[in-house]
């Protein structure tokens, strides 16, 4: 193997030993689009074949017809190999073009990879890092809640600085503009509930109780929950994206540099808007859902009058207020999580995407947790 004869031959690369020199003969087109691009295997194999290491690596490129970065990156790999094996790299055997590019590429020595390698951390350290992050996040959430509370307090005292025109604009965006999607989904939700109810109730001849099922489910749970999920995905995400983008483009810094509070200027109007609009949307969703249930009931032989009569008997103000009370809190939750994740946003466009995702995930999680807490509370209060 380590004789002086020809040892490796591919179409484009021939590696030979000539005394203490390793000679690489390159042939044909060496381009990124070429079909055949030999790699370092042949050279490495020759070096690893045993015997004394070559002293110098020479190149013969007289037969290369065309070249681009493919050739240079091959040469750079050869150069790295030479450095690793302390072999001399014969620059002078290269034509001026590749030689210049290669010298440029090797002029600045490799920087050590200074980024801490997270994969190398042991599980315990990872757990610690995770706990630290969670702790920091919890502190930020607490700080944000505190800031918001102070802002609301200042608003009640009439000392908060923000623009009512922003509030009206947000009310339009999160309220009126959401009506079509709320209508569609609430209608379908009522329809689905009615069909599910029919499966159970029909064998007992109790189809009329579909009205009870649809009515109670809509006003107590599904109306407010559907609205919450839609608002979280629609408005919460949009809040996070807006504030995140404003942070990236330093618009929030510009506010703070004027001595104005971003919480009052940006978060407060959005919270007010959702606090007002969320209950209204919930009431609207409740009625549309019950209407959807009525449609299904009518296809099953019940009359509209029968349905509404049964419905008004089943759904009293207590049931209705269960959903309504929740809706005020849900509005605040969606607005706060959206704004929080937006304000926490990092300084890149990727961070805006992450902030938006986190806003929706946090928003829906908080909604479900809050709903569970309310379920226990209302059960205790026997509402």
């Amino acid at each position: 193997m380590n004789s002086d004869s020809l040892t490796y031959d591919t179409e484009a690369l021939t590696v030979t030993r000539e005394g203490d020199a390793l000679r690489l003969r390159l042939r044909g087109p060496w381009t990124l689009h070429g079909s055949c691009r030999p790699h370092l295997g042949a050279v490495r194999a020759e070096l690893a074949a045993g015997g004394p290491l070559p002293r110098i690596m020479r190149f013969d490129v007289s037969a290369v017809t065309d070249y681009d970065s493919a050739l240079i990156s091959f040469l750079l790999n050869c150069h790295d190999l030479c450095v690793a094996t302390k072999t001399q790299f014969d620059f002078e055997s290269l034509p001026p073009g590749p030689r210049q590019l290669l010298s440029l590429a090797t002029a600045v020595p490799h920087a050590e990879d200074v980024r801490p390698n997270e994969a190398r951390q042991n599980p315990l350290a990872q757990l610690g890092t995770l706990a630290e992050e969670l702790g920091r996040d919890a502190l930020e959430i607490l700080q944000f809640c505190g800031d918001c509370t102070v802002a609301v307090g200042r608003m009640l005292l009439g000392r908060a600085r923000f623009r009512w025109s922003d509030v009206w604009l947000e009310i339009q965006h999160c309220g009126a503009d959401a009506l079509p999607i709320i209508s569609l989904l609430a209608f379908l939700m009522g329809l689905i509930l009615a069909y599910v109810g029919a499966v159970t109730l029909r064998p007992y001849g109790g189809l009329i109780f579909i009205a009870n099922l649809v009515g109670l489910a809509m006003v107590r749970e599904m109306g407010v929950m559907m609205t919450g999920v839609i608002m979280s995905g629609r408005t919460g995400a949009s809040f996070a994206a807006q504030l995140g983008t404003m942070k990236v483009s330093e618009e929030i810094s510009a506010l703070r540099a004027l001595g104005l509070s971003p919480i009052e200027y940006l978060v407060l109007p959005r919270m007010i808007a959702l606090f007002v609009m969320f209950p209204l949307l919930t009431i609207y969703a409740n009625f549309i859902g019950m209407f959807g249930g009525a449609m299904v009931a009518m296809t099953m032989g019940l009359s509209y009058a029968q349905f509404t009569h049964q419905l008004t008997g089943a759904v009293d103000l207590t049931n209705f207020s269960v959903g309504l009370i929740k809706s005020f809190f849900f509005g605040l939750i969606v607005a706060a999580t959206g704004c929080l994740r937006g304000m926490q946003c990092g300084n890149s466009s990727a961070a805006v995407g992450i902030a938006t995702t986190r806003a929706v995930v946090t928003g829906i999680t908080c909604l479900v947790v809050a709903d569970a807490v309310f379920a226990v509370i209302f059960n205790t209060l026997q509402m």
Binding site: Y67, M246, E250
Partner: protein
């Protein structure tokens, strides 16, 4: 305030300022004064902490240690009321313009006036027209920031920074992204503002042309030593400094920098030729 020996105090005084992100120290022990009516440049290589220093000066970031004083009054530990009074005397032009994207140019410039003055709507409109005229943007009142070019965004941002006739104007990379002619016009505008209104101007930049054109004094942040690498008139600093990095910076790397050379001939490289058969 015992560490402020000057009398009368400098317009801006920075004492032993250390800036850090968590455990990572960006710059340490910065101590310098900026006099009233001075055009002061903060310069340095990319990523050395120029913009971070600016954010410290305007209170967007809190120092790890050290203090910033304005007219001898402690800014770093000021209470909310004091601080917002001081902030009102600043005008800041951010790197990307940072105009509020939901407001038109007119509304952007009018915003500080509406918030902090008792001017009538009529007066505000006139003032806004003047400020926009000063930066050559008359007639663009009703455009949104997304509808105009990046250079116009920056100029409008300057109009907003000037809205309250600030005592100090801060510029973060004012000429970045501007063509040479606009950049020069901006330099001239900065000089005129200082000469006519006596505004103190603090500019973060690495544009040599701007530095030599407008600077009274310049502060060089040395990324290698993580502290001040030089302070003075850039024209003097260029020749006589002992700091190698600073001299390279001010001479565009031409004084003694080892450019990669051709190992065969020892000559520096020309631009590599595009695809060529050897």
């Amino acid at each position: 305030m015992s560490d402020l020996a000057d009398s009368p105090p400098a317009h801006i005084a920075v004492r032993n300022l250390t800036m850090a992100y968590g455990d990572f120290v960006v710059m340490r022990d910065l101590t310098f004064d900026i006099q009233r009516g001075e055009i002061f440049i903060i310069m340095g290589g990319s990523g050395c902490g120029k913009s971070t220093l600016l954010r410290h000066l305007i209170g967007l970031q809190a120092p790890a240690t050290g203090k910033v004083y304005y007219d001898g009054v402690d800014f770093t530990d000021s209470d909310d009321g004091q601080r917002s009074d001081m902030l009102r005397k600043f005008g800041v032009m951010f790197q990307g313009g940072a105009l509020w994207s939901s407001l038109t140019l007119e509304e952007n410039v009018a915003f500080p006036l509406e918030e902090f003055t008792d001017l009538s709507a009529e007066d505000i409109k006139e003032t806004v027209a003047l400020k926009l005229a000063l930066v050559g943007l008359r007639g663009f009142e009703n455009f949104y920031p997304s509808e105009i070019s990046g250079g116009m965004n920056k100029r409008a941002s300057l109009a907003r920074a000037m809205a309250l006739d600030p005592e100090i104007l801060f510029f973060d990379e004012p000429s970045a992204g501007l063509d040479p002619v606009s950049a020069r016009r901006l330099d001239e505008l900065i000089l005129e503002l200082r000469d006519s209104l006596g505004t103190t101007v603090v500019v973060v930049t690495h544009e040599l042309a701007s530095i030599f054109a407008i600077a009274d004094r310049a502060l060089y942040l040395d990324v290698a030593t993580r502290t001040m690498g030089g302070l003075g008139d850039p024209k003097d600093l260029r020749g006589q400094t002992e700091n190698e990095n600073l001299r390279l910076f001010l001479n565009r790397g031409m004084a003694g920098l080892q450019l990669p050379t051709d190992p065969a001939t020892g000559a520096p490289f020309a631009a590599p030729h595009a695809r060529r058969a050897p």
